[in-house]
Symmetry: C2
Subunit: 214 residues, 2 copies
DNA sequence: CCTCAGTTAGCACGATCGGTCGTTCTAGTA
DNA sequence: TACTAGAACGACCGATCGTGCTAACTGAGG
């Protein structure tokens, strides 16, 4: 439960009191920030432009966060919640363990295809940008990548336990390969603007899972 | 030959005259720019910091390029030349067609492992950053990604023609999957700082190629 | 050796960056 | 109803951004 949950346990269990309208503003800001980040980048997204996009003053927006880094951390968690709602949660209803793995992959492709984030997968974009910027934001992002891979891995192990996947397969290795195809589909889709990348990703993970069948 | 060559045919067939010391400076600038770009990002790398890193004045550096965009385009081509020298060229000496495909993949992993670029694969980093920034730089980058995939694909097709790979395999699909594992290895290696990602990539493409054997 | 085009540096510009300030307004509470 | 704390604002800070302009220096062809 704890590590399997992608989104953060709670909003830092804030001792800080919030007014209802402020909470609404904060949510609006963070949702826009998450979406804009995939286009402008985490560093590229300036507070001024974000404020203008929301229709709010720069200082008013800034007051919600003590620093840009805190804004980025909050944006990360908001993106994780969106990812959970769009990918992880829908795939939970799958019937069967192997179907659960396939559902996760399908949900991911759909999440790219529907352009939940205008710049493709949030975490693919953020990872590539932050992997060379040491600090708490990178650490949090690294943690999220690990959690996502763990979710995939656990589902694979469950499918093995259910006798639906070859027990000889290394779950971590299989999760690695599946995620590689998903990310490659995202990359081709966003950079080339070509939906054939998503189709290749679908075909790729399907045949890979078929080959791993018990 | 034309499309198979990753690096640009020539430096824009410059009608511009160059002095020997200027040419040397330009090369120094571009090599540093290519390497720093994988850490700072193409937009994140400022001319001032690049100049300081080289030990040169900002305006002196700037005079070599009419604009930051031209610097970025030249940086892209320099990175392509480095990639050609470090990955494509070494893999040319492979004995046999299938060995050629494996050599490309191995050379790529080695290029990541040796940290030819301090921030991992240049094109993985640049693609993720620029895929949402329309303009000539993105177009050039898109072209380079296509060329790289074509190189992989052509080698696969050659291996099929030589009877070393199953003729039923779709070369484009196989190239997609192999590249997905390579990029995933790069991503894990740079973000998690864990060499196990590269090992997974190696194991992944090896078993995938083994499965595709004729 | 002279000349000229190619380097390179110094300086300054307008814009924008993250961040701070004092102030006003208002939602929630007692 | 009076009080308080959070929310939002506009003005402003120093720093840095990309980009010009100008002048000094120098390598190479005549």
């Amino acid at each position: 439960m704890s590590a399997s949950e992608f989104a953060r346990p709670a909003a830092t269990s804030s001792a800080r009191r919030r007014r209802a309208d402020g909470e609404r503003s904060r949510a609006t800001i963070l949702e826009a920030a998450a979406r804009l980040t995939t286009v402008e980048g985490l560093d590229g997204l300036s507070i001024g432009r974000l404020a203008e996009h929301i229709g709010m003053s720069k200082s008013g927006l800034y007051a919600h966060f003590g620093s840009k880094e805190e804004l980025q951390l909050a944006t990360l968690d908001t993106a994780a919640e969106i990812f959970t709602a769009e990918v992880i949660r829908p795939a939970r209803q799958a019937a069967g363990a192997l179907a659960g793995v396939e559902a996760l992959c399908d949900a991911f492709i759909s999440y790219i295809e529907r352009k939940v984030f205008p710049g493709g997968c949030f975490f693919a974009a953020a990872s590539a940008e932050l992997d060379t910027h040491p600090g708490p934001v990178k650490e949090r992002l690294r943690e999220l990548q690990r959690i996502w891979l763990d979710i995939l891995e656990r589902r694979i192990a469950a499918a093995q336990a259910a006798g639906e996947l070859d027990p000889e397969e290394d779950p971590a290795q299989l999760a690695f390969e599946l995620n590689g195809m998903l990310n490659m589909g995202n990359s081709l889709f966003v950079l080339q603007g070509d939906a054939v990348g998503l189709e290749r990703a679908r075909r790729g993970f399907r045949s890979r899972l078929a080959a791993a069948r018990a």
